[in-house]
Symmetry: D2
């Protein structure tokens, strides 16, 4: 759950489009956490997940103080990259009336920025179900 | 409860100092909500609370993904302005080992930006206890 | 010309990907200004240009204090929307070694958010050459 | 020279107060650059300048696309810290009609975060006049 902060709005009175990238990021970090994968370290090895490409579609505006849900999933997994998909909707809204949809493709690199293959054990966990059941309803 | 987002960090590896102003803002909005005062409307009248002055003291850095608590209170109330005080600490940390402390002084204006006196009924509610008891542990 | 601000970096030591959306925006505003079209008003009529979709490709990282050039052009113009394309490169770099490429598609609406047709006179100017010759090398 | 970006505005139609901290930062980085001191390295030694405290006073709002000048100077220099002062005004405006004034106090630390004494040679340069005369009118 995310609340649109006042600082996220612009003078059109809605959440600025760049804000959604931080909401996507929060969703991605949470997705990994629930699979016991930290955003900066995987099984003791420092990793980086630089964004290689992204796209977004804006369907309706979000407003100040609105409560949003970011739904995140892995929709494609290759040897070197992970494609995350996101849907941002208002809390309690019908699933079809979303606000923003998008995806980001992330490469896997080591701390020095060198491209790395995604280990099979990690790939399975990435595409798998949530491991942590604790409710994590904050960002 | 707030989680430090990756976008909030800078290349020193800590939350950028400007991020705390959005944490303060989240604390302030929540403080008002718990007293049934919306951030943009008070009892049906549109209000604005532009910041007139602010100050912050940084005691220790916050890191990516750290969970923070923002404690907010009104520490001074005059005819035309409200001074909010804030303390940001790590969840579960000793109250004295805070990360950032600060205050903001807000003027009350109408939608056109004209200075307005704070109505007494509002002043009482501003300085008073929480009215909403629902747990609001997200931002 | 844009300089990567310290606040734009993240703990990977590079400009955070969301920063580029503000660089794109600066490029877009400048593109319109050079055609004597303001970002919020066209020939006396208030307009809005909400983003309908966007995409970005990241080729290499930008670092703190690096000087960037944002090249902006209109690559598609329909009855109701404008597609802007952007290329962000380092100042003085070979055109092919860009940092980020992307596009945004903007709808034209009035102040109330209602979709509007792009007037022909505006469409011509949008796709046309720069009118202002004053160097505007700042953002 | 800084232009207020659209992303810097909030739904009150003015530059959000947190934006000024990034303008201050741009002014500070520029101040050091003009004295041949980089923001992240001083004479070959990596340094950090974490903010220890800051304060701001807001006198009038800045609006989208407004051109601002950030005037920066060192107003106090101690053994371990530097206090920068800032004044943000509209380009061409009378010096007294500023928008925001403020200061930040920065500690000097090494890359590991350990407090360091400011070397005398640096202190002199910090408090001294500009060395680079090239016009640096962008941020």
């Amino acid at each position: 759950l995310i609340r649109v902060r006042f600082a996220d709005t612009d003078q059109m009175g809605v959440a600025h489009h760049a804000s959604y990238l931080t909401y996507f990021e929060a969703g991605r970090v949470e997705y990994l956490r629930r699979r016991d994968l930290s955003y900066v370290e995987w099984l003791g090895i420092p990793v980086r997940l630089p964004i290689v490409e992204l796209s977004m579609r804006f369907h309706r505006p979000a407003r100040f103080d609105q409560q949003l849900v970011v739904t995140t999933w892995v929709d494609k997994l290759t040897q070197y990259s992970i494609r995350f998909a996101y849907r941002v909707s208002e809390v309690g809204a019908n699933e079809k009336t979303y606000i923003v949809k998008g995806h980001t493709r992330q490469a896997l690199t080591d701390a020095a920025g060198e491209l790395r293959e995604i280990p099979e054990a990690i790939a399975e966990r990435l595409a798998g179900p949530e491991l942590s059941s604790r409710p994590e309803n904050l960002v």
